[in-house]
């Protein structure tokens, strides 16, 4: 690549260096970056400061600096380790399941609804519809649908011959299943749409060529569709991963972290430390640890998966 490029302007030949940097470009990005810094990074700096104080949210006197006390608490206190490990585990379980549900069913539905006729477009729209509705409202209806003795789901299961009513929100494992049902129902339409848009972008030639070679549908899926969808999958994987790790609203509406902390995901635990225990200092250290974990996992996932992704030429 040449270092300069000749351009003719007003009859004069000018040499413009390719690597020239423009302040104007910088200023285009600046407002967005500044606002993002204000609404996300400034609070994190504050959290770092708070993590060295003895700040409780209800105290009226000024907080004092206490050094590494909260950090010591985070890594050594029994009360911290117990709940921290629990919520990490819960978050991990939720994230893995949610990614599997959203991406798996998203891909499945995308293939199912990949049919360009009007009825299918209408059905697609219906499947996507839950996403229009605020999680805070969806939670209310799911709560009622999942009521042990009077909810419509258990009544229907009873009709199908299940005698024992399931304690959806009170059982250790079912509580997580309930939340996954809500978030899966809410989010799968979005994954379907993205997969579908990617499917439409794959040239028919690949399939026609492979059909001539005698490939079966399953083989086509395995050797053509899946590799060509891998950038989409990575994109969805990363975004779903981050949003799953951050899950809060659905847990708050559905179970409030219960039963027995079995659905107390990280963000819920952090919020609970600040507002139920009034310990924002401890909440801050926990939050910072959570960010570090999230950052490390996300970056390493991107590094690892990037190698296995096939980009279309």
């Amino acid at each position: 690549m040449k270092k300069t490029k000749a351009v003719t302007i007003d009859g004069r030949v000018m040499h413009i260096r390719r690597e020239k940097y423009y302040w104007s470009d910088f200023f285009l990005a600046l407002p967005a970056v500044l606002l993002l810094v204000l609404i996300t990074y400034y609070p994190i700096l504050e959290l770092i400061r708070i993590s060295f104080t003895d700040w409780r949210l209800t105290m009226t006197s000024a907080p004092e600096y206490v050094g590494w006390k909260n950090w010591t608490w985070l890594f050594t206190a029994k009360t911290s380790i117990r709940y921290l490990l629990n919520s990490l585990q819960v978050t991990l379980v939720y994230t893995v399941c949610n990614i599997a549900i959203d991406l798996g069913f998203g891909m499945l539905f995308a293939h199912l609804f990949n049919h360009l006729t009007r009825p299918f477009a209408a059905m697609r729209a219906l499947v996507f519809m839950p996403r229009y509705i605020a999680m805070s409202s969806c939670g209310i209806i799911f709560l009622w649908m999942l009521n042990t003795d009077y909810g419509v789901i258990n009544k229907m299961l009873e009709y199908l011959g299940m005698t024992e009513h399931l304690n959806w929100l009170g059982d250790d494992n079912l509580a997580m299943v309930s939340i996954l049902m809500l978030t899966g129902w809410h989010g799968v339409g979005y994954c379907m749409m993205i997969y579908l848009s990617a499917l439409l972008g794959i040239s028919r030639d690949y399939y026609e060529a492979s059909s001539l070679d005698g490939a079966t549908g399953l083989q086509q899926f395995r050797y053509i569709t899946l590799p060509l969808l891998s950038p989409t999958t990575l994109f969805l994987f990363i975004t779903t991963f981050i949003s799953s790790m951050k899950v809060y609203q659905s847990v708050d509406v559905m179970t409030g972290g219960g039963p027995r902390n079995k659905t107390a995901v990280m963000v819920y635990y952090i919020y609970d430390l600040a507002f139920n225990d009034n310990r924002i200092d401890r909440s801050a250290v926990t939050a910072l640890l959570f960010f570090v974990i999230l950052l490390v996992v996300t970056v390493s996932t991107m590094r690892i998966t990037n190698r296995n992704v096939h980009y279309e030429a």
């Binding site: 949210l57 209800t58 117990r82 709560l143 999942l146 003795d149 509580a175």
Partner: protein, 433 residues
């Protein structure tokens, strides 16, 4: 001479000090303040009606009443406003368990000087002592009672008459009663609200097992009495007598009870009016009379009952002027006065907070009207209500308590093992301040 002079001087100084400390209770015209509350539905309408009546009586004061949400919402908003140093209301509703840490952190005003300054508008001694004690932390009166409720039993009175049994008054009578009713109906006898320790905690304290032993800073639940009680409860759950409800509680209890699926339930007294209406109109297919039962008396004869529910606080935040706080206290005086309380109770089925409401002849008509609509209120003896252990970690420990109780009752966890872990966990929490 010199001595006399110094005494006089000291006396003068003392006097001037008292004069300085004299509470400024003035409320200039045009005082406006914010009032946060948690009530909705009919309760909200009644509260706002009373607030408007207060404004009509005090034209110089305007109240900006704002619905914030549940107690938890109000708590986080108060904490937020405190942190930001602005936006605190001059008056707020909050639930009882928060008060200990609030008074410790001086997040709320000590109401004692207000009570003295406004002595002609509020008769503090007229409140039931158990209620105001609960809100007093070492002389620091953090709040005054407003929408008090208790953790009581509701039972199907019609069914009890049919079977010919009385609702049990002591814990010893409980087992036989559960069995008798179960043998008759073949259905669950008692639904217990299991997601809040407040409901079953009284059973433990009446068995002399307290969650926090302040002296040793460990849990008093590590006692045989507590373990035996848990074993009893578990055996009743296993026998199908008791259903321990820990999810979607209010709906489940309401439906179970009003549709005749259970004969009794342990829940909040403030649901009384609603259950009574549904049960007496047979809205859920069964028509019956609702009875109220107190927490059972313990083996040792201990009979403690606790109040919970809404109290009124004045946040200490500097963003409100003394005049605004005074106006807020004036509204407290108004809302907690016997006449207003009776009207409030009539709508909300909260407890009457004033002794004079039931004894003073001038309220006799209003009191009779309340009893006519809510006859079982008479069963409650508010004089036996006492303050619970005041500890800022009470709620936190309570969370652990209710979690392990659910584990034992609903997950069929091993009783002794879980009880052991529970006590360890509460001890850890208490040790970690």
């Amino acid at each position: 001479m010199k001595k006399l002079f110094s005494i006089v001087l000291a006396a003068v100084m003392l006097l001037s000090c008292t004069a300085l400390a004299e509470f400024d209770k003035s409320i200039p015209d045009g005082t406006t303040f914010t009032f946060w509350y948690s009530f909705s539905g009919v309760n909200e309408a009644k509260l706002l009606e009373q607030v408007r009546a207060f404004e009509a009586e005090n034209p110089g004061i305007t109240v900006d009443a704002q619905y914030i949400g549940s107690y938890n919402n109000i708590h986080s908003e108060l904490a937020n406003a405190n942190t930001a140093g602005s936006g605190s209301p001059a008056l707020s509703v909050i639930n009882v368990p928060r008060l200990t840490s609030y008074s410790k952190d001086k997040l709320v005003e000590d109401l004692t000087p207000y009570i003295e300054a406004f002595a002609d508008e509020i008769n503090f001694d007229d409140f039931y002592a158990g209620m105001t004690d609960m809100m007093n932390n070492g002389g620091y009166q953090a709040a005054l009672p407003f929408g008090q409720s208790g953790q009581i039993f509701f039972y199907n009175k019609t069914l009890m008459k049919e079977i010919g049994v009385e609702f049990p008054k002591t814990i010893e009578e409980f087992g036989p009663w559960l069995k008798t009713v179960y043998d008759y109906t073949g259905k669950t006898v008692l639904d217990v609200c299991g997601n809040d320790n407040a409901y079953f905690y009284c059973l433990f304290t009446n068995a002399d097992a307290y969650m926090i032993d302040v002296e040793s800073n460990t849990t008093g639940l590590r006692s045989d009495a507590a373990l035996n009680l848990i074993k009893d409860l578990r055996s009743w759950v296993d026998a199908g007598y008791i259903k321990w409800v820990d999810a979607d509680v209010s709906n489940t209890l309401r439906l179970d009870f009003t549709s005749g699926e259970c004969a009794a339930m342990l829940y909040t007294s403030s649901s009384y009016a609603n259950y009574k209406k549904v049960a007496e109109n047979g809205e859920n297919g069964v028509t019956f009379e609702v009875g109220i039962g107190n927490q059972p008396v313990g083996i040792s004869g201990r009979n403690e009952q606790y109040v919970a529910g809404a109290t009124l606080i004045i946040p200490s935040a500097d963003c409100n002027t003394q005049a605004q706080k005074n106006a807020a206290f004036k509204l407290i005086c108004y809302l907690t006065a016997p006449a207003q309380q009776l009207d409030w109770v009539h709508t909300t089925s909260y407890y009457v907070t004033r002794k004079s409401a039931s004894t003073d002849p001038q309220y006799a008509d209003a009191y009779a009207a309340v009893l006519a609509d809510l006859p079982e209120m008479d069963v409650l003896d508010l004089n036996v209500y006492v303050a619970k252990t005041k500890h800022e970690l009470f709620d936190k420990c309570g969370d652990i308590f209710e979690q392990y109780m659910s584990e034992i009752m609903n997950n069929k966890g091993d009783v002794e093992e879980n009880w052991e872990i529970m006590c360890d966990e509460i001890d850890d929490t208490l040790a970690d301040r």
